[in-house]
Each structure stands twice: as C-alpha cells, then as structure tokens.
Subunit: 452 residues, 2 copies
Amino acid sequence: MRKVTILGAGLVGSVLSILLRKRGYEVDIYERRADLRTAAIGAGRSINLAMSTRGWKALELAGLRAEIEKIAIPMPGRFLHQEDGTSAFQAYGKNGEAIYSVSRGELNKKLMDLAEQNGVRIHFNQACTKVDIPQNTIELKAEDGSTQSIKCDLLFGADGAFSALRTHMSYQDRTDFQQFYINSGYKELCIPPDAAGNFQMEKNALHIWPRHNYMMIGLPNNDGSFTCTLFFPFEGSPSFDSVKTKEEVMAFFKEQFPDAVPLMPTLLEDYTQNPVSSLITTKIYPWSHKDQSCLIGDAAHAIVPFYGQGMNAGFEDCSVLDELMEQYGTDWATILPEFQKSRKPNADAVAELALKNFIEMRDKVADPKFLERKKIEKDLGVRYAGVFNSVYEMVSFSHTPYAYAMGAMEAQDWLLQEIMQQGDYFSNIETAAFKTTLDELLAAYAARVKEL
Amino acid sequence: MRKVTILGAGLVGSVLSILLRKRGYEVDIYERRADLRTAAIGAGRSINLAMSTRGWKALELAGLRAEIEKIAIPMPGRFLHQEDGTSAFQAYGKNGEAIYSVSRGELNKKLMDLAEQNGVRIHFNQACTKVDIPQNTIELKAEDGSTQSIKCDLLFGADGAFSALRTHMSYQDRTDFQQFYINSGYKELCIPPDAAGNFQMEKNALHIWPRHNYMMIGLPNNDGSFTCTLFFPFEGSPSFDSVKTKEEVMAFFKEQFPDAVPLMPTLLEDYTQNPVSSLITTKIYPWSHKDQSCLIGDAAHAIVPFYGQGMNAGFEDCSVLDELMEQYGTDWATILPEFQKSRKPNADAVAELALKNFIEMRDKVADPKFLERKKIEKDLGVRYAGVFNSVYEMVSFSHTPYAYAMGAMEAQDWLLQEIMQQGDYFSNIETAAFKTTLDELLAAYAARVKEL
C-alpha cells in the first residue's frame, strides 16, 4: 500500500485524508498554519459555508454527516431586502430543500479530530516552499525557520487557491494555467444577536440586499448572529475606493441598507478595521503528474463564492476519487488520469456558474421580470416533474454533473424566453391552447438537454 | 536620473538598454546565460527571426538598422511546396515589400556590443531567483552558486516567456495571468548549402510545406543553408508521437515532403537528436508595479511564432516606451501606466493573430479558394489604394496598431465573402455592374474599419 502525503489540512485535505485512511493508506498531512483547535487564530477565509447535497455526500462517506447536521442551520431560500424597503422570501426548491449555513472553523476542527482519530498524522506550521514535480519531493519550512525535504510516494495538493503544488505544476511543460480576479472585493461585517441572544432577522434564510452592481449578504450562525459580507467594486462610485471615512460609510449604509443599519452596532468599527479581500478564479490542466501527484479542491479549481459551491465542489472531488478507488483499486496510474478527465469539465462549469450567479444575486433578483421567471420555473418543476428541474436545484440539491447543469442553463434561458413571450403565464396556464404550446416547448427543451 | 536594472540581455533587453542609455540613464543588465559572444552556446530559441517594419523602427532608434540590413535576407513572399508536388510563390505585399530573415544569435551579439559601447553594463551568468515586488529587490544566483540581493531603483523584466519578474508579479493581489500551450510542438531541421556553397532552393522567400494540421517551413541563412522547422502535433497520427524511428521518419518525409528529402542529408540525425519544443502563449495584467517595475517583450506577452511578430512586437514595445519618455520625461509614475494601457490591447491582438496564422500557414494556403482570395485582396489593394490594405500588410509592413489589424481582419472576412459570392472576380472585374457592387461593398468596409 502506498504512503500518501497531503498538503493542507483544510476542509478538502481533511476529508480526503479520512477517505484514504478508510482504504488503508498511511497518511501524513502538512499544514502551513497552526492548529486552529488550540491556537487563537481564525480559520482562514471566514465567509460562512453553504453546505449542499454534494458536500453532504462526502461528509457521509467520511462518517461525519450526523454530527455536522447538528450544528448546521437550514436555509430553504433567499430573503431579499429590496431597495424600496420591501422584502420577499424566495424558496430554493419546490419541496422545501435547503442549503445549510455551517461555520468553516467548526467544520474544519471536527474534520481534523476525525482524521486524527482515524490515524492520520497532521503536522502543523509546515509551509511547503517548493515541490520538485518529477522527483516528487517537497520542501517544508517550519515556523522556527528549520527546513526539511520529504520524498513523497503519492502526493495530493489540497492547499487551496494559492497552492504550492499547483504553482510548481504550472512550471511543467505543456501545463495550461489561468488566474483572474473580478472587479469586486469583499469585506466582512456583522449583525449580532439581540440583547436576549435571539436572531434579529429570519434565521432560516440566506439574506440578500441586491443593489445591482454590488450586494450585501447575511448568513446565520448558531450564536444568534449573522455574518454579513459586502461584495463591492474596488473602484468607481460607489466602491471601496469611494466609501472610506466613517461619515461616508454611515451615509452610504443609511441610504442603501436602512433596515440593516439599526442591527449593526459595530458597523463603523467593522468596516474601517476589516480588510478588503479579493476574489480569484484559477484553472489549471493537467491536475496530476504520472501516478505521483495530484491537485484537488481549490488547488485545482478555485472559484468565486457566489453559488456556495467552492467547498461542495471540493468535497465532490473527494467522492469521485473515492469511487475511482473503489473501481480501480490501487491502480493510481489509471485513477489520477481518470479523475482529472472526469472532473475538469465540471470544475470549469462550476467556475462559470459561480461567476454568473454574482450577476443573478446582486442584480437580477431585484428585477420583477426575473422574480416572475423564478415563479414560472417553480410551477414548471411541479407540472413537468422529471422533465424540468431548475438549474439551482441541479447544482445545489442533486449530483447532476456541473457541466450538464451549465448546458441546461442555456436551454432554460431559451425555454423561459419562449414561454414568457406567450403572454402572462399564470393567467393563461389553464387554457388548452397555452397548455399545448407549453407541452411542445417542454418537449423541445427535453430534446435539447438529452443531448448534453 | 534614476538607475535602471534590466533582467535579460536578449533582443528586447538589449534594445531597451540602448534607448535608456541614450536618454542618460545608468543601466545594468543581469543575464541568466553566459555571454553568447564568447561562450560556445546557442542563442536560445533558434527559429530564425523574420524582421519586419516594427522591428526595423526600434533598430533605427537604437542606431543599428544599417548594420543589420547588411546581414538580413529579404523574403518578399511565401514559396509554397504543395502536396501535389507543385509549387507557387505568393508575394506578401503589392509593392514587393519583404520581411527579412535574420539570425537571432548574430542580431543579439551586435545589440550587446552596441549596448556596451553605449555604456551599458551586462552581467552574465546571473539568474534571477526571486523578486520582492513591493521592495523592488531582486535576488541573483551566479553560476558558482553565490548569491546577491540588489535593491533596484527602476526595474524592467525583459527576461522572456518564463520571466522571473512576471512570475513574481503574478503572485501580487489582483494580477490576472494566463499561460497556454498549443497542441503542436516544433523540431529544428536543416537544408545545407550545396557542394558549391549555394542555396538549394529560392533564397528570397519563406518556404512553406503546408500539410493541413501540420507544416514545415524553411528560412534562408547567409551561409547558403535553410533552417527548417517542423510544426507537428504532439499526439495523434501523424505526430511526434507516431513518427519516431528512423524508418518511420524516412517513410513519412518521403511521402509528405518528397522535394525536401534529397536536400536534407542530415534529416535522420537531426530528427532523432533535436528536441521537440512546445509553444506557449502568456498574458498578464497589470504589467507594472507603481513607478518601480515593468514587464516588456515576451515577459509581458509571449506569443506563438506564426506571424513572425514576437520580436517585432517586443521591439515595438521599446519604440512606444521611447515615445512616452519623449512625452513625459522622467515621470515614470505616468509612463508605466500609460505604457501598459496602450500596449495591452495590442499585445492581446497580436497573440490572437499569431494563433490564427498557424491555421492559415499550415492549412489555408493549401486551399485553392484561399489562394484566389489572396489574389483578389492584392487586386483590391491596388484598385482601392488607401481604402483597402491586407491584414498581412498592416501587421508586417506598417505601424498600424495590432488591435486595429485584428478588427480589420474581421471586416475583411466579411468583405471577401461578399465579393466572392458575386461570381468570378477576375472575369467580372471590368463590367460596370460588378464595379458598382464593388464600390458599394468597399464603402461599407471603409465605414466598418473607420469605427475601429
């Protein structure tokens, strides 16, 4: 049995280590940071996680689903705080399906505990400074400056969007690589619990304040607070560049988020002290080198957070790899090429879906026409069950490959445009002529997606 | 006056150093390789260079045009060696304009001589291993393993497609970067002079053997030889992967390049011993950091060689930078942002033009319909002088911005398609009705390109 080395004890690295231990591999993880279970540090990026179906599957494989369900807060829909002061709840699924707000830190701690209980050795404060890809050796630098070089047998890079393994893989001949940033960054803000410790807004929802080219979102935490995130252009007006002083911040929030301001006692402090972070997308190919090393999760495909699929996609990588181990045993010369071949189109698709969903969340959900479309989609899902599923449902509540969901999105854009040209849907839906037209359109849609 | 440090004593680094010296800057160049004027080494990539108008301009600014003209071989057109054994000469311009075959090594040596004569200090065997972008310090490693760290005042990275400055700039927040390889690689081959020392084929031409998804080209050298390059897929059939043994090589060449085989006495030796190299395109943005550092040439925009514009684009970078120094004096906080802003769209355009020209050279020039189009283009250029110039002429024989040429290409694709739908051009060209139609189409074309 080969010995496995994993770079990164984050979410994906921890889950991967557990799945490998369950199949009998000896596993060592080298983690750049200190142990977040004992050190007084943050868990890295702090945007809350939205766990959905793909994520749950990997947790189930790892044996942690029940425990995480206890601390996860279901969010069955979006709670929209519109510009005009009105608000609306928009269910995500037709059967009350939810995505779940989970604390990244808590989840990571439990995963590390479970990994160690399964016999994984996690080495903290070990930054990987170099990888010799052909030799499969890594150089590690400890906090005290001491270094060591390790010859790996089978190496995984689960070391995130700025992966050391990926960087060195990108220097290999005929390796394509791309990184790009969007023009918006984000800043974390907070809505604390009220004096009695209760949630100040609807607990079971993902709150969104859509404001066209920017937005604020809020996700519930178990302590009664909401972690809010302002996604805002770096430059222009308004932007992080134009809204800086306490006066500017207060004027801007009072104008744009009047319902939130009274709930945010530390707004000025949070806004002026918390950093602005950027949002990167990365793509690389190939992901692996021979039967020696392979990227997984963000290291292979870092995406923007707007579909809540970053962790879910990384966990799905783990599930798929587990299936390949089931199928091909210890034949890593087959497993790694199969893994990258099957995952790459899906990683590209979820990257694209995530970028598009920023537009949807910040802009379209404020548009009455779009809200009408969402209602029609929901009705179609019931009326043509088995034929029509919304893209959101495919992505968040199924294991449908992301690439298929991406293709279905285009087919649905066509379908809904056609339907909405036929006049008011809900006025006409019971007429025979409209139903015939609808049947024909849905048959054409079904034929299109069948080819995906 | 600020002190300038340049990474790389290649073509662009040398020209840049001369232009900066002429404006009074103190200049030090650090070059990874040994001095190619004294060491018995190749000059790096050995595909011959095709110098065209943009390249000549920078050489003129540097004061080296007359000297290089003496060793440059004019190639006023393509000499096509078709699959059916026929051959054809295709002029590049309507007035006999030529691109010029120049030896990369000879050109580089002369440029380094001139740089040193102007007071530039070139330090050889100094590999840049790290750049601290905010601090503007570089770490250099000499051949003997000794290292030094230098605090730079104004730093340029002219260190090519695998630039150390670019690598470290790509780690900066909000820096977009991309690299990709095409599916073909290349191998250098040779057609030596005959026993009397004469050229074995037409001297004044760029020879092409177009074979659809691959091709061989040949450029003349001053010693009577041609440097040949086979551009060939890495995988598939035929490919570098499928044509390997001496038997396979000979069978393949005899079938595909029967006219060349008798001229290539060292074919088997060259093919089996010379390496297969890959072809990368790179894009990055921004190119500069504050008024401190800037990428130039291949370091900023490595492209594939199929339009013969790699060096020409790098030299044009130098000319443009020189104009900005003329305009803004020593205000580098203005010069560097203006430089990247004006050059980036043109760098992207020439990257695209170069990729498209591979298709044209290897595939389209073997197509009678395409050859007909080329003839019509030439006639239009004469008939509508001042209105119609072929894209090839814009790129190779003018200073028209590459981005404009790219836009004009799309307009010309439309125009020529329209014209060729009107029936046989050369049969109809003297009829009044056809002339009227042509006038109208050219007016529409002129309106389109005016908006570019």
